[in-house]
Symmetry: C2
Subunit: 370 residues, 2 copies
C-alpha cells in the first residue's frame, strides 16, 4: 500500500499513472441504484435500522439466493453488515476465543489475518499454489486443522489470483470442516464477476457454511459500505449481540439502495462484459511479455502472474516499473508470504484504454527491469 | 433491550406505545443535509474514500473545532469513522493489548465495555453517583488506575444521566491521565444538545486527549453511520492501519452529507429548543410523580431518575409499566450495575405530545406499581 501512496505522489507531480494496483471497480454505481437512493432520501427515514439489517433487504436477499443459487436461506440468517469487512469483524468477534485459529489460503485477501488477530486468535496461513488453483483443498484443511481451529476460509473467486475453486473440492472442504467440528467460511464477494463459468455458493453444498458477500464489487458500490453474512441458526444470537455493540447497524440509505441493486441486471452485465474483454486482452499481452499465468483466472478483476522469468524480486520490480513507466501493480507480498517475491497482481479494474497504454509502457521497459 | 422487543410486540398487537426508551433523535435529518446527499449522488463519486476519510471532511472538521471550541486540530489527527461506534472499535483495537484496562463510569454507555472486551482487555467499571454528577473524577481515576490501565473514559454529557461534567474536573482528569502515562477519552457525541450551558471539549484542556464524536445525535443522522475520532500524533499510524483493515472506510455519501451538516445551524437549533422544552416539562412532571432526579440533567435527551420511593426493583417496575400503561422506559441495569435496580432512564427523544400522554398514563398507574 506504500506503493499506492507513491503512485499518488507521482500523480500529484503531474505524471499519468496507469492504476492496475487497485482492487475497486472503476465503474460508477448503476443509475437505477442511485435513483433508489434518492427516493429513500426523500422518505425521511434515515434512522438506525435493526442491528441485523432492514428486514426488507434481508427478505430480498433471501429471494435472491433462491433465484441465483436455488438455495433456501431464511431471512433471519442473513445479517446486513457495513461492507464485507464488517461481516468479517463480526464473525471473528462472535466465533473466536483467544488462542483459537482460522485456516487461510496464502496468498489471500490480507485483511483477513488482521481481523483474526484482533480477536486474539491465530491466522494459520496455508501455502497454496497452482496445483489447487491457489485455493485450500480438503487435504490441506485436514493437514492443518488442529485443536482450537474454528473454520477454514475460501475466497472464491480468489483475491489475488482470480481463480475459482472446483465445485467438488468446495464440497469436500465443507465436509471436512463439518467433520472437524468447525465451519467453512466462503468469501463470495466476487461472485457475479466470473467469465464463462458461474461461481458456486458454499450453501449449495453445506447449509452450515458461513457465507460473506457484499455489494462493493459486482454492483460497483464500494463507498456504500454494505454487505451481508449468512450464518447457521446457532450463531445468529451471538452475531446479533456483537453487531448491536460494534456497529449498531449498517448504513440505512445504503441498505435501501441495496434492495434496488438486487434488481439491477443490465448494467451489471455490461460491467462484467467489459471486465472480461480487458481480462482477455491482458492475459494475451502479459504472456507475450514473459509473465507466467499458470492458472487461468476466471473471476474477479485480477491476474496473478509469476515473474520468475523477469525478476527475482517482485517487490523491487513493482517499484521499478512504477518509477520508470508509471504503471502501478501490486507485489505478491501484499497477499502473503508464500512465493510472494515471485508474484505480482494485475488488476483490470481500469479502462481498456488505460490497460493498452500500460502494456505499451511495459513493453518498452520490462526488458530493462529484468 | 428485551424490553424494546416486547414494546414492539405490543405495538404489533395494535397497542399505542409511548417510546421513552429509545436513544435516537425522533427528528428526520435536516433538509439541507439531504439535499447535499442528493448532489453527491449525482456526482457519481461513491468510491471508497481514503481509510482516514474524505480530506474535505477532515478539513471542515478542523475548521469547525476552531469555530466551535477555539482549538487547533490539524486535519490529519481527525479520522472519519463509521459512526462513533466505529471510533470506539478503532481506538480500542489500536490502543489495547490483551490484559490492559480502561476506566469507565458506571452507569455509562454500555457498548463501551464490549468493545474493550473484544480487544481482549478489561473494562474497569467505576461506580459514580450524584456527588460527582455521575462522572468520573480525578480522585476516582487516581484510585482505580493500575498497571496496564491505558485510558479513562468520560461521556459528557452522559448517557444515561444527561449530566455534564464540571470543566475543572475534566481538566483534572486529563492531567491525571497524562501523569499516569495514559489517555483521557472523551465521548462528546451529545455536544450541541445542552441546555443553558455549553459542553467543553476535552481538547480545550489537553491536546493529547482522544475525542470521539459523530453526526448521529446533534444532526439527527443516526442511520448515516458517520463519526470521527481525534487522536494525538503518536496514534495516527496505528489507527490508520486498523481502519484500513477493519472498515476500509466510512460510507462515502455520508461523509459528503457530513460536510453539509457542519454548515447546518437553524434546524439543529430548532431541534435543540424542542428537546429543551420536553426536558423541562418532563422534569417537572416526573418530580410530581415521585421520581427523584438528584442532579439536573443539562444535556443529551435523557433523564436518569432514582425510583427508590416508588419501587425496590427498577427492572420489574419498567416491565410492569410497559404492560400496564404502554409506556416504555429503560431500567438502570442496561447501563451498569451500580445501584442500577434503583434507577431508570427516560428518553425525551419523542414528541412533547407523546411525552404528555406518557405522563398522563403514568399518573394513573405509578401508584399501582409501587
Ligand atoms: C476478497 C475480498 N473480500 C472482502 C473485501 C472487502 O470489501 P468490502 O468491505 O467493500 O465489502 C475485499 C475488498 O477488496 C476483497 O477483495
Ligand atoms: C454515549 C454514546 N456514545 C456513542 C454512541 C454511538 O452512536 P453512533 O455510533 O451512532 O455514532 C451512542 C449512541 O447511542 C451514545 O449514546
Amino acid at each position: 500500500m506504500q506503493l499506492l501512496e507513491r503512485a499518488k505522489e507521482l500523480e500529484a507531480e503531474g505524471r499519468k499513472i496507469i492504476h492496475m494496483e487497485i482492487g475497486e471497480p472503476d465503474f460508477s454505481t448503476p443509475t437505477s441504484i442511485i435513483d433508489a437512493a434518492k427516493m429513500a432520501l426523500d422518505s425521511g427515514d434515515l434512522f438506525y435500522t435493526p442491528s441485523t439489517g432492514n428486514p426488507a433487504l434481508q427478505q430480498a436477499l433471501s429471494n435472491w439466493y433462491k433465484d441465483e443459487y436455488n438455495v433456501d436461506v431464511s431471512p433471519e440468517r442473513i445479517l446486513i453488515t457495513p461492507g464485507t469487512s464488517g461481516a468479517f469483524s463480526l464473525i471473528y468477534a462472535a466465533l473466536l476465543e483467544a488462542g483459537e485459529s482460522i485456516l487461510l489460503p496464502d496468498p489471500g485477501y490480507p485483511c483477513q489475518r488482521n481481523f483474526i488477530r484482533l480477536a486474539g486468535a491465530e491466522p494459520i496461513n496455508i501455502p497454496v499454489g497452482p496445483d489447487t488453483r491457489y485455493h485450500l483443498s480438503a487435504e490441506l484443511v485436514k493437514q492443518h486443522w488442529k485443536t482450537g481451529t474454528r473454520a477454514a476460509v475460501v475466497i472464491n473467486p480468489s483475491n489475488p489470483t482470480g481463480t475459482l475453486i472446483d465445485a467438488d473440492e468446495l464440497q469436500h472442504i465443507a465436509q471436512t470442516c463439518r467433520k472437524s467440528g468447525g465451519y467453512l467460511i466462503s468469501d463470495e464477494i466476487y461472485h457475479g464477476l466470473t467469465y464463462g463459468i458461474k461461481a458456486r455458493c458454499a450453501l449449495e453444498f453445506d447449509e452450515h457454511a458461513i457465507v460473506v458477500n457484499g455489494f462493493s464489487k459486482r454492483w460497483a458500490m464500494t463507498g456504500w459500505r454494505v454487505g451481508w453474512i449468512i450464518v447457521p441458526e446457532e450463531l445468529i444470537d451471538a452475531c446479533r449481540r456483537v453487531m448491536q455493540n460494534i456497529f449498531i447497524a449498517a448504513p440505512t440509505l445504503s441498505q435501501y439502495a441495496a434492495i434496488a441493486a438486487l434488481k439491477e441486471q443490465e448494467t451489471c452485465e455490461a460491467m462484467r462484459t467489459a471486465y472480461d474483454e480487458r481480462r482477455q486482452y491482458l492475459l494475451a499481452e502479459l504472456a507475450k511479455l514473459g509473465f507466467d499465468i499458470v492458472v487461468q483466472p476466471q473471476g474477479a478483476f485480477y491476474i496473478y502472474a509469476n515473474v520468475e522469468n523477469i525478476t527475482d524480486d517482485s517487490k523491487v520490480f513493482c517499484w521499478d516499473i512504477l518509477e520508470k513507466t508509471g504503471v502501478a501493480i501490486t507485489p505478491g507480498e501484499d497477499f502473503g508470504q508464500f512465493q510472494s517475491d515471485r508474484h505480482v497482481r494485475f488488476s483490470y479494474a481500469t479502462s481498456l484504454e488505460n490497460i493498452r497504454e500500460g502494456i505499451q509502457r511495459l513493453k518498452n521497459t520490462v526488458g530493462d527491469c529484468r
